[in-house]
Amino acid sequence: MEQQPELSADVPRAWDRPIVSVPILTFLSLVGGQLPSFSPQANLYTIGTGGALVWLGLSNRMPRRTVPQRLGSGAVWWVLPVMIFGVFEAGTFMLGSRDDFPTFSKIADPLLDDSLIRSAVYFAWLSAFWGLVRR
């Protein structure tokens, strides 16, 4: 039996337009933003939403955008922010993520206690995840 080739499309389908995906992601983010850290609900919800997106992304059910065949030399610019972030994350982590030299997540934790900020960051996480699934 012939295998179904990977789907690739630049034209969004009706259900794949922002008018459909944004409200769904917003709803999921608002729910996720209400769940406190370290709670079983937050664990289940994050693992569940992420797991569903991983499943969608690894199955060939979703149409994908065109992949660039090669990256130009300009791609090297991306090394700069990645390296700066990596150096600070590694440095703060290796020094024990102290209060006076915290890791990124330790800085973010107090901000994420606010449910509105938490929902907004949840939205960014899910949107980026959805973008990866479509790639």
């Binding site: 937050a42 919800y45 994050t46 693992i47 915290p102 790639r135």
Partner: protein, 69 residues
């Protein structure tokens, strides 16, 4: 020292925004971050989509790390 850490992370995040902005200009030779991710994600070892699994796994872990743990 705390200000140094905050300053370092803020600089890195601002640079992400600046490079993405530069990449989206017409005729730019810099690929967008999405294109870089897509390029990495097409890496396969035999039939195993190693690039996709790695990026999905990393991003899944990021969400769990910030929202659940």
């Amino acid at each position: 020292m705390k200000l140094l850490a905050i300053g370092g992370f803020t600089t890195a995040l601002l640079l992400f925004v600046v490079v993405e902005w530069a990449a989206r200009r017409e005729g730019s030779r810099i690929p967008t971050f999405g294109d870089v991710c897509a390029y990495v994600m097409q890496y396969e070892v035999g039939p195993v989509p190693v690039g996709r699994i790695a990026l999905f796994g990393f991003w899944w872990w990021m969400g769990w790390h910030f929202f659940a743990r």
